[in-house]
């Protein structure tokens, strides 16, 4: 990998995000149009039909695929691709958009992340069964598999996880486009019904519908769109062994994050992530995922997450605010949209447009997704010029 191939070559000049929620009365088309036209307006794209040269979409449950986006936005006569990479789907679509500009093929492209899981008729992620050996199994069941060993090794417990849920619920009350705006207490979290130990209801993110869109252009053109553009520092994806069959897994970390962080920090030139990163949006599909991510990203020492949680390190007022908009916890997780929604928050924060949840002097922001068994991690690092 050439670590310099991406850094500072591509700019985000416009972003949009539809209202996330149980959008019973909205189609994927409605959400895509809502997010894309906000992004057009934000970028000052007065003629998207001429200016957008390619479209990179991310969706895990598309009903039609690429045509869903092309039809909605009437973007024909140009490439439209659809990427899937579990929960890192939106981030991976963004990554291909960045590549397409960095290689010099296009000047300006659109990245569209969307999903509409609430049209499936199930509340929450469904239990899935595949194959003959297939267990009735749930994402909560997969992501809880580090808990027993981690708790025993480092003395953390459900109370530490609960504080993450409380933090994200608070942040979500300050984000206009979040689905859940409700303060909760540690007691609420601990007393909620168990979904999959150690996760109770409030340890799990909600299921929601959403779409988010980014307009990317090459750095040389960024100024023609706006002064406060945001530069892409790193885009990374890493797969790791399936933790369910990996013969040597230690159940103390999620390896995809560890692998992807190495790539991303090399690209962005980051040596001390805790000092150099100002804010992070991380994959809080479950509270434990956020806890492990603190450590797996090297934001704190392995085993020390619970101390940082207690000290408020990752709260909005802390040294390194994480999930400043309330994360998956309050936005829900329309899989393809989530990565792009995280970029939307980082973009707004870096521009100083995050209103009540604004973090002061943030110039470098990270976003993170973890998906599958989990086996895949997507990371982006963006910053001000």
């Amino acid at each position: 990998m050439n670590p310099d191939a991406i850094r500072d070559k591509v700019a985000i000049v416009g972003m949009g995000c539809c209202q996330f929620g149980e959008n019973w009365d909205k189609s994927p088309e409605d959400m895509i149009v809502e997010a894309a036209f906000e992004a057009y307006e934000d970028a000052g794209l007065d003629n998207p039909q001429q200016q957008i040269e390619a479209v990179f979409c991310g969706s895990v449950y598309p009903s039609k695929g690429t045509a869903e986006v092309a039809d909605a936005l009437k973007l024909f006569g140009r490439p439209v691709s659809l990427v899937q990479n579990y929960c890192a789907t939106g981030t991976d679509a963004f990554r291909y958009g960045v590549f397409s500009i960095a290689c010099g093929l296009y000047d300006t492209v659109l990245v569209v992340g969307f999903d509409k899981p609430k049209d499936r008729g199930v509340s929450g992620p469904s239990a899935v069964t595949t194959g003959v050996r297939g267990l009735p199994m749930t994402p909560a069941g997969w992501f809880s598999l580090c808990a027993a060993k981690y708790f025993e090794t480092y003395g953390a417990g459900r109370e530490d996880l609960a504080k993450i849920a409380v933090k994200n619920h608070h942040n979500g009350t300050l984000a206009p486009k979040s689905m859940i705006k409700k303060e909760i207490t540690v007691d609420d979290v601990l007393k909620a019904p168990l979904i999959s130990w150690p996760f109770g209801l409030y340890d799990c993110c909600a299921q929601s519908d959403g779409a988010a869109v980014a307009v990317l252009t090459k750095r040389e053109l960024a100024k023609s769109f706006r002064d406060d553009y945001v530069l892409v520092k790193a885009v990374a994806i890493a797969l790791a062994e399936n933790p369910q069959s990996d013969p040597s897994f230690d159940f103390l970390r999620w390896k995809p994050t560890v692998h992807a962080a190495k790539q991303a920090y090399a690209q962005a030139g980051i040596g001390n992530p805790f000092k150099e990163i100002d804010i992070a949006q991380v994959h809080d599909c479950f509270t434990m995922t956020e806890l492990l991510t603190y450590e797996d990203l090297g934001l704190c020492e392995k085993g020390s997450a619970k101390d940082h949680i207690a000290n408020g390190t990752f709260e909005l007022t802390g040294e390194l605010p994480v999930n400043t908009d309330g994360g998956l916890k309050t936005f829900g997780h329309p899989t393809g949209a989530t990565g792009v929604r995280m970029l939307y928050e980082n973009y707004k924060q870096l521009q100083g447009k995050a209103e009540q949840r604004q973090v002061k002097n943030a110039t470098i922001a990270l976003s993170h997704n973890l998906g599958g068994a989990p086996q895949t991690c997507g990371l982006t690092i963006v910053g001000m010029p």
Binding site: G124, A127, T129, G131, V132, R133, G134, L135, P136, M137, T138, A140, G141, S144, L145, C146, A147, A148, K149, E152, P193, L194, I195, S196, W197, P198, E241, P243, Q244, S245, D246, P247, S248, F249, F251
Partner: protein, 472 residues
């Protein structure tokens, strides 16, 4: 000499107190005691595999030449059970398999067929298994009487522990207990008619025929092992044939086990063999569409089988399920938001490709670096060697819990579903469910063994895989 060289049994861990059956506007007439009930993931096939595994402990499985499987409650009308059992037991591919079905007498008939095969020289070792999980209408008298269980015998010609010296068989036509195609519940005619003209007449005739044929009298037998439809009727048969019901008859285990259908007489025989002294003689009488009586002599090899998991071991291993609604749900007799049998079912081609992993529970061992892995891989996890593996049977190994969760969301009829990652002795990691366990006993490093179970019922068929269970 040909006879029983090994035996094993399986009684499901769960017990339904008979008092729990009362309710729904009915009076409590169940009396005291309990009955053994299959867990929601057990059926006659899984119980057969468990009993046979106990029977084959310490025995080279490659030596088994045949499997005879007896049951009245097998899920399929067309598709053999014995071949599933043989695959789960990881027996040779050229094993002879047959199902004996449709009669409560099928278990002892299979026993005779196995002995005949070895005597005739067409096989050296035949596994005979009887297993039943019959369904009676909820809160019926029959429901209180029946239980679930299995027994297995290995028939061979060396180090024989019990020899059948004499047989007498009766075939009879009577509409006493029956179940037609598509009906879930066993039905029966009025019980006094069934006991008098079905059970008693036939069994007494068979026993008397045996005594006459063999020249033996009741006093020549240490014990009579008598099938009984209920907790009382066997006493009449004992009286009519000259046996002392109080001292000479094997405890039929009503109040503990229940009538386990075609596995009942075979299970009582295992219980009798567990206690029998060398040289003692047993009378075994079974009933169903006629009757059969066997005179069995116990040899000096019987004693060494006592260490196996038999009837007494299983009776001592119990857990109560007193929630009758949950029991009905286990049997798919309770309307539910989530139908466990819904859906398209498994792909037959995927099943076909994965049989060695899913049914025989084989893992891969890398020939280059020795790393054990599950499921099968083309490229080694550790040294990345391609296609250089040997298959290793994992089902008879032990393992330990590496990680676990309790999933309340996974649609189990007995939430929470205990889901674990198990490290099998030797190294493979398997993501699997734990069964016959309470979340309270689950912890890291907990030692487990493996048990063949229904993993789900999608598509309305029993779909089998292995689960783990704490070693007891």
């Amino acid at each position: 000499m040909v006879g029983i060289t090994s035996h094993g049994a399986h009684i499901p861990m769960l017990r339904l107190p008979l008092s729990a059956i009362a309710g729904g506007g009915r009076k409590a007439t169940g009396g005291s005691g309990e009955k053994a009930i299959a867990n929601f993931d057990e059926d006659c096939v899984t119980m057969a595999v468990a009993a046979a595994t106990n029977c084959l402990e310490g025995i080279d499985r490659a030596a088994v030449d045949g499997v005879l499987f007896a049951s009245t409650s097998y899920a399929y009308k067309e598709k053999q059970a014995a071949s599933i059992v043989a695959k789960a037991l990881d027996l040779r591919r050229d094993v002879v398999t047959a199902d004996l079905a449709d009669s409560l007498r099928a278990g002892t008939t299979a026993l005779r067929a196995g002995i005949d095969a070895v005597k005739a020289g067409s096989a050296r070792n035949v596994l005979v298994i009887a297993s039943d999980c019959r369904l009676a209408a909820p809160r019926s008298a029959l429901e209180r009487n029946i239980g679930d269980g299995a027994a297995a015998f290995l028939i061979g010609d060396s180090e024989v522990a019990a020899v059948v010296d004499h047989y007498h068989f009766i075939a009879d036509e009577i509409i006493d207990v029956w179940r037609t195609d598509g009906q879930p519940f066993v039905r029966s005619w009025e019980d006094r008619f069934v006991v008098e003209h079905g059970y008693s007449d036939n069994v007494v005739e068979a026993v008397k025929g045996l005594l006459q044929k063999s020249g033996l009298g009741p006093k020549d037998f240490t014990k009579a092992v008598l099938y009984s439809p209920d907790a009382r009727s066997y006493a009449g048969v004992a009286r009519a044939t000259g046996f002392d019901a109080k001292t000479q008859v094997q405890d039929p285990l009503f109040g503990k086990l229940g009538n386990t259908g075609c596995a009942f007489a075979p299970m009582l025989l295992v219980a009798a063999l567990e206690e029998a002294k060398p040289g003692s003689r047993l009378l075994l009488a079974n009933y169903g569409d006629g009757a059969e009586a066997l005179a069995i002599t116990v040899t000096e090899h019987a004693g060494k089988l006592r260490a196996k998991r038999g009837i007494q071991w299983h009776l001592d291993r119990r857990a109560e399920l007193s929630d009758y609604d949950k029991y009905l749900n286990f049997r798919n007799l309770q309307p539910s938001e989530f139908d466990r049998r819904a859906g398209q079912g498994v792909s037959a081609t995927v099943h076909f490709r994965d049989r060695d992993e899913d049914i025989s529970f084989h893992g891969h061992k890398c020939r280059r670096c020795g790393t054990m892995q599950f499921p099968f891989q083309r490229v080694c996890f550790k040294c990345f060697a391609k296609d250089d593996f040997e298959q290793v049977r994992l089902s008879d190994k032990y393992g330990k819990v590496m990680s676990h969760t309790f999933d309340f969301f996974a649609g189990s009829p007995d939430p929470p579903l205990i889901v674990c990652i198990i490290e099998v002795d030797g190294g493979a990691r398997v993501y699997m469910q734990m069964t016959d366990a309470s979340p309270k006993e689950v912890k890291l490093e907990l030692p487990v063994e493996f048990t063949f179970r229904k993993i789900h019922e999608y598509g309305g068929t029993p779909n089998y895989f292995w689960k783990c269970t704490p070693i007891r």
